[in-house]
């Protein structure tokens, strides 16, 4: 048989099977979509958790207060040194004048503090560097970074101590959430595999007599398998297309609410799915197609022995 004719017939039979077994096709597709929806819900939760943690981590800063005798050159040298560290995300220089202004603003309604400042006279604040890190894991390193002979004597104070507990909590929480997300993703993937496996086995079981009949009237194994494999591939593709639509519609609809919920923390789930959509959904299609094709081959094996 020419391969073109054979392929054309396999396509035709596939289309007939899908249309004439509408309810079975519908149920199979629905299960595929629901399974992918579960997996994407886990991805969604992981992105939110990651985004929220990252945002909180970014809000934590270490401030190095310099002694009043530390010149601007020394502070800027320290800033340059900190900027050169991989662990440092941003270093902001706060001059003594800015520090005084901001202190006054913060305590504008506290007469006692303001009068104390007036009494001290001059500028009691030195320059300061506000340092934020890429990860909360890096604060311990950064806080030790200026313990060099060059800078140590000019550092009056580090206010990391106040943040140490919160940083430690965030680190523990981040690890737990990421571990939980991985376990959850693994668990749901396992459930998804079993559901897909069983759905296809049932679909093939329903057709077991037909498979036998096709063999008895002279069809070879690949001619019988072809439409079933193509059907599995079609459901996988359609399920992923539907899940892409559903995901983006839901995210576009609910992202404002999600952002409102998290306040000024930007978790940007939609942009995560936009930027990584090709990989996320591509991997889901490849995984689903591979699994459904393999299951179809496996499930048909016994009924082809006629």
């Amino acid at each position: 048989m020419s391969s073109f004719l054979s392929s054309y017939r396999v396509f035709t039979f596939t289309a007939q099977n899908i249309i004439r077994n509408f309810w079975l096709s519908f149920i199979t597709l629905t299960i595929f979509v629901l399974t992918l929806l579960t997996i994407n819900a886990v991805i969604f939760l992981n992105v939110i958790a990651d985004g929220a943690l990252e945002a909180v981590e970014q809000k934590v800063e270490v401030t190095f207060y310099f002694t009043p005798d530390a010149s601007e050159d020394i502070v800027q040298a320290a800033q340059g040194y900190l900027n050169g560290l991989d662990q440092v995300r941003e270093v902001t220089y706060v001059s003594a004048e800015q520090a005084l202004e901001s202190f006054k603003e913060r305590h504008a309604d506290n007469e006692i503090i303001l009068s104390s400042i007036e009494e001290v006279g001059g500028d009691p604040f030195g320059h300061a560097l506000v340092v934020s890190a890429h990860s909360s894991d890096d604060f311990a390193f950064i806080s030790e970074a200026l313990e060099t002979p060059e800078f140590a004597s000019f550092i009056k104070e580090k206010d990391l101590t106040d943040y140490e507990t919160i940083i430690e909590r965030i680190r523990t929480l981040a690890k737990r959430i990421r571990l939980g997300g991985t376990v959850l993703a693994f668990f749901f993937s396992l459930v998804a595999i079993l559901i897909i496996f069983n759905t296809i086995r049932v679909a093939i079981y329903v057709h077991r007599d037909e498979i036998g009949i096709m063999k008895l009237v002279g069809a070879n194994d690949w001619f019988v398998r072809g439409p079933f494999l193509l059907e599995a591939l079609f459901y996988s593709l359609l399920a992923v297309v539907l899940i892409v639509l559903v995901t983006f519609i839901l995210l576009a609809q609910f992202e404002p609410n999600i952002n409102n919920y998290f306040g000024d923390i930007d978790v940007s789930v939609l942009s995560h799915f936009k930027e990584n959509g090709f990989i996320i959904f591509g991997a889901q299609f490849v995984g689903l197609a591979f699994l459904s094709l393999l299951t179809t081959l496996f499930a048909m094996r016994r009924y082809l022995r006629v």
Partner: protein, 228 residues
């Protein structure tokens, strides 16, 4: 045409023999009835002919082709040359009458043009020209069996094996089916009819091979159904 030499069949190692040391020869153009009670081995014998089962011992030959140890990949080729009709019709439920018959040609790679020539012809032979667009569930048992026969005929096979083709039919429909098989035999096709229907066998007055407990107990040229 069909030769069995000392053929035995066991379905598993310790199971009793379904067929034991059977030898027979059927000539081209013969109409042979294989009769016997349930469990006598007649369906097993039919299954050996279209390679649904393999003989445990002995040799099965169709024409010059030794199919005793036929390979999996060769079975489709054999089945495109032997027409088979089953008691339960074995029609594809989600294909129309036309598609069911066409399927047997499609698997053999026949071109659509030829399929559209041959299928109407065989539908005419079995008297179902007006029901080609129907699905099997929309047909009576007799009509379904005629579709099954039409499907078996599309390759113009030299051999047609009919395994209890009237088993699910009433007397009138059974008579129609047998008449159809006789007409096909008149065209030169060898018919192997597996049945336990006494009236049909006696009415045919053709060669009758009787099986009991997996052995041939009689083989008579113009035989009758002799079992009780």
């Amino acid at each position: 045409m069909i030769t069995l030499q000392n053929v035995s069949k066991q379905y598993s190692k310790n199971a009793p023999y379904a067929l034991k040391d059977i030898s027979m020869h059927m000539k081209a153009g013969e109409f042979v009835s294989i009769v016997g009670q349930s469990g006598s081995g007649k369906t097993t014998l039919a299954k050996l002919l279209f390679a649904e089962e393999k003989a445990t011992k002995g040799k099965v030959t169709i024409g010059d082709w030794d199919i005793t140890n036929i390979r999996q990949g060769e079975r489709p080729v054999l089945r495109r040359q032997i027409g088979v009709v089953f008691q339960d019709f074995k029609l594809l439920p989600r294909k129309t009458v036309f598609e069911n018959i066409a399927f047997a040609m499609q698997v053999a790679g026949e071109h659509s043009k030829r399929i559209h020539e041959i299928v109407p012809q065989v539908l005419k032979i079995v008297g179902l020209s007006d029901k080609s667009a129907r699905y099997p569930r929309q047909l009576s048992g007799g009509e379904q069996q005629r579709v099954s026969i039409a499907r078996a005929l599309v390759h113009q096979p030299k051999i047609l094996v009919a395994d209890e083709p009237t088993g699910n039919l009433d007397t009138i429909h059974s008579h129609e089916i047998i008449q159809l098989l006789k007409r096909i035999n008149d065209y030169g096709t060898t018919i192997v009819l597996v049945t336990h229907d006494r009236d049909i066998v006696n009415a045919l007055k053709r060669r009758v091979i009787t099986l009991a407990e997996g052995k041939i107990i009689s083989d008579i040229e113009h035989g009758k159904y002799t079992l009780k």
